[in-house]
Homo-oligomer: 290 residues x 2
């Protein structure tokens, strides 16, 4: 449940002016406001599962987006039943100035490619169908000027090859691989909450720049509770971070009874050094390497 | 919309251990928590109308009440369609450990008598069907010991008469009016929001101890806006307070653009002296007179 000074778990990713929101519990529109972010440019909303703390803020947010004059189509991604759930909640937000495109995930995983990024939903293990998400930004290889010069192709066509387009010039066909080096490491953020540890989390968080993972309980003796309610202990999240060899991990989705998550971080860091307890409004800018 | 440090408009009335909540927008469960109030003893929830800012916090609150182990039936009062709207929102709160009794108001007004208080819904004038509410606590007359003594009725029966019960003793029937004075002034609170000024508000707020009324805009030049969106200016609310001869009035439901409602209070108080701009967490204890 939302607590004073602790909003419900949610993540906003921004990339090239596009905004991707993952989860929207009660108060998320306020968290967005407090973080100085805007409603209008939210292009994609991903929902992990249909428990109220991950979805109850939707009607308010959709109305706020409408009030901010969003007219461009919004894409929503979530488990099977997404359209039904969102439309039921829209009983109090029936009129919006934008269309919603629903992408329902039925299988164990699904990738959706956007212009500037790629979102992948992967099944995790909660009491109801629940997905984790990765948001990835690819990075093409370096443009090789020497190879381009050797092609006898006028300079004005080079940028097309750089953008990944094929060029026809004087009866010859030029493809990007003729001038581009191998794809370079891109950026990957992985977000997963309301789940027991799973192999799918390790696979999808692999080498992520940022891994945001639930840590419902700090105390090891809460393992029975965690198993029953299908949540995780801090040390379990840290083990996932270690196995997935991520660069950095943030814990989130603390139990309301867990007042000071920091208390358990010293122990948790023994498993995976670069892990911190998440806080409201936490931000990180991730850039391409080099 | 909810703003940092300004929750959506809502009122909690407490009377003899019973709790009545009027309206429940996004974040109201947090406002309840911040005010040090409890979820479990909420017996009645009244909804003025089905705009999101008055109802979007319901799924979260109902779940919080469930988590607080409420098992006693909850009564909900609201416009026609209440059950449909609440059940649609409950797509994300399907399982609750208590029943909900729905009281839908179809007519211009409706009174519902509870053990300790009486709630009356009265139609106001908004873009959708909307009701104001009064919560009243009656107070019986004084018990007249001299008249009771003159009755030849043993003392142990007096308390029955005092409670309004009829007593049969030695073939004679004794009724409360034989020992009780006239009903004394009780307590009345009137709450109304999202409406233009109406005669129904004046009638129902008449002589209220506390009148809580919307004041969407402070600036008089916003009158066209107010009429179009069916809201009120501060001076209109003050006029209602004056005409209804209430003891005290609070303004609420300010436009998000109205950062400092206090700016307009000097002018507003010229119409009705005992009016103040509402603030988050504002409280008042109202006692019977004398």
């Amino acid at each position: 449940m939302p607590l004073p000074k602790r909003w419900l778990t949610s993540l906003m990713c921004r990339c090239n002016g596009k905004n991707i929101l993952i989860d929207c519990g009660e108060g998320t529109q306020l968290a967005i406001k407090e973080a100085g972010l805007l409603f209008k440019p939210i292009d994609v909303i991903c929902i992990t599962h249909f428990h109220a703390d991950h979805v109850s803020g939707l009607p308010g947010l959709l109305l706020a987006m409408g009030n901010a004059d969003r007219t461009k189509e919004l894409t929503m991604i979530g488990p099977k039943g997404l359209k039904k759930v969102v439309n039921a909640l829209r009983v109090i937000a029936p009129e919006l100035p934008f269309e919603i495109k629903f992408v329902e995930v039925n299988d164990l995983e699904k990738e959706i490619q956007f212009d500037d990024f790629r979102i992948k939903a992967f099944r995790v293990n909660h009491r109801v169908t629940c997905y984790g998400y990765t948001v990835e930004v690819d990075r093409s290889g370096k443009f090789d000027v020497e190879r381009a010069k050797a092609l006898d192709l006028p300079v004005q066509y080079w940028s097309h090859l750089q953008k990944g387009e094929t060029v026809k010039y004087q009866d010859k066909t030029y493809t990007p691989d003729m001038v581009m080096g191998e794809d370079r490491k891109g950026i990957k953020v992985c977000y997963t909450t309301d789940t027991r540890p799973t192999q799918s989390i390790i696979d999808n968080a692999m080498n992520a720049d940022l891994f945001i993972c639930e840590g419902m309980y700090g105390e090891e003796e809460k393992i029975t509770n965690a198993k029953e309610h299908k949540h995780m202990l801090f040390f379990e999240a840290a083990n996932l971070a270690k196995e997935a060899e991520v660069k950095e991990a943030w814990l989130t989705h603390f139990s309301p009874a867990l007042i000071k998550p920091e208390m358990f971080m010293e122990e948790t860091k023994k498993i995976f050094e670069n892990i911190v307890a998440g806080k409201d409004g936490m931000k990180k800018e991730i850039k391409f390497e080099e």
